[in-house]
Point group: C2
Chain length 300, copies 2
Amino acid sequence: MLQTRHFRYFLAVAEELNFHRAAERLNLSQPALWRQIRDLEAEMGTPLLEREPRGISLTRAGAAFLEDCRDILERVENARLRARRIAQGELGTLHIGFNEIAGRRPEMPRFLQAFRRAFPEVSLQLHFLMSQLQVDALRGGSLDAGFLLRPRGERTDFQTLRIGEDDYALALPRDHPLTRREGIRLTDLSDQALILPNPRNNAVIYDRLMTRLRDAGVSARIAQVADNENTIMNLVDAGMGLAFLNLSFRPPEPSGVVLRPLADLTMPVDLELVWRGANTNPALAHLVELVRAQAEAPPA
Amino acid sequence: MLQTRHFRYFLAVAEELNFHRAAERLNLSQPALWRQIRDLEAEMGTPLLEREPRGISLTRAGAAFLEDCRDILERVENARLRARRIAQGELGTLHIGFNEIAGRRPEMPRFLQAFRRAFPEVSLQLHFLMSQLQVDALRGGSLDAGFLLRPRGERTDFQTLRIGEDDYALALPRDHPLTRREGIRLTDLSDQALILPNPRNNAVIYDRLMTRLRDAGVSARIAQVADNENTIMNLVDAGMGLAFLNLSFRPPEPSGVVLRPLADLTMPVDLELVWRGANTNPALAHLVELVRAQAEAPPA
DNA sequence: AGCATCTAATACCTCAGCGGCATCGGCCGG
DNA sequence: CCGGCCGATGCCGCTGAGGTATTAGATGCT
């Protein structure tokens, strides 16, 4: 059977065109090398060397095989290196999710840029997904890590790394009467139209908000559920009702929406990097390590 | 050291994802295979298989390596086939020379077409060269075989294969007085202007012609030497003098040149396929064999 | 719970084959 | 004619690839 040994040996012989020198180069004895070449020719089913009275030369088949030898040996070496680099997490692909809020944070581009600089051969595939969908994708394995918001203190079987914090506040049109009130309370929302996040996308937040409203005895009217924060904001802007939005979701400047804290509603959430502990993608460890370092010591 | 054995074994294991089945496929015992894979991972410097409670799966590095394995094993096999086919003369390059006369013979395209059909992967490189230059090229190794004219009976250290025969005749303008004479003799050429082939290109023919003329006591005047048959014919047409041309070099129809045999000059030449006996190009043997078969039994 | 079964992993042994040493035989240059 | 260079061969030792028997862990069936 053809072994890479044969390729290495033939390469040396073909380059030196001399069994003694080739054997020396390979740290081998001349007879051992000679026999391997003989066996190689038998395997190939054709002579590769022309035996001449004074030394040897390549046959046409041998010359062609020499090229193939070089190519194959190079590929073997590259295969080894590639596997190593993948195992080291220096090469590969990382699927990263991020949601509306995380995407607007200044940390995100810092993390990604730092990672790209440190591991330029890891392809970063970014997926814009809401928090709940990210969790599903992480479970399903189509995502390696996600930047998302989780209510502080909520239990989880994922690994998490806290990057920042946020809270919810009341979003209301600039000209709404409540904007002139200090210390808005939940009871002030009675009989107001409310716009809530779609429970299909974000059940946790939806449930918590509803619970708080019920506990406060507020009989609010749900005017609309919306799929994402942008939609919610636009609906508020259009005067469809009031809503709860994250503080870090700053409305774009020419917007008629303002955010006001509620005196008796605090729902702190953490911006976290989340991943499955069982995920074996070696590049993931690098991402976590890098985000941890950056989050602990943000650049001056 | 990585051996192709390792590639073949890993390929089986990675495809079966089961040591027993893979070992069976390889006609190997499970422990032997297991140890080879362990050694392979040590060589690679990274695990390729994920050991799970129930069986094995590929690591990312292993999956990448699997692709490389397939690629490499395929290339190894192709290298073997390529070398074999080159050695068999089914693949390669053949440099073939032909001169003015051979090029005009109907046999040439027959030979070449038959060869191309039989050995489509042998690249035929055709070189238009006069006979003497072909001989030099054959000696120098830049030509594998040549179709050329040689005076019959001339000794040579080349291998030859007779394809056809030819002779020299007098070339003269259509309106020349000698065209009306039956049985032109060399002595009739006294005081005629003659156009001879350049002795640098075709020393043998030049010398023979000169010898015949001298022996016949003809004091011919050499008006010109010319590099090739076309030039000679044009000069004759232009009335610069008479010349000796091969019978099979039929002047193109709208030409004012005619060929007349000489009663006392016969210089038979053979159209031959000529090659060096020491030439090791395996495709050459096929060409010779094919030309021999075609020449002996020309198509009906 | 207990047993059968499937899997990867170990222990121990055998022998093929890879490699080393010594040597031969042919060819060339001095 | 002889010394040196080269490929080719014979013989022997030992490494390592492979076989058999067995263990160990997990799972599923009764």
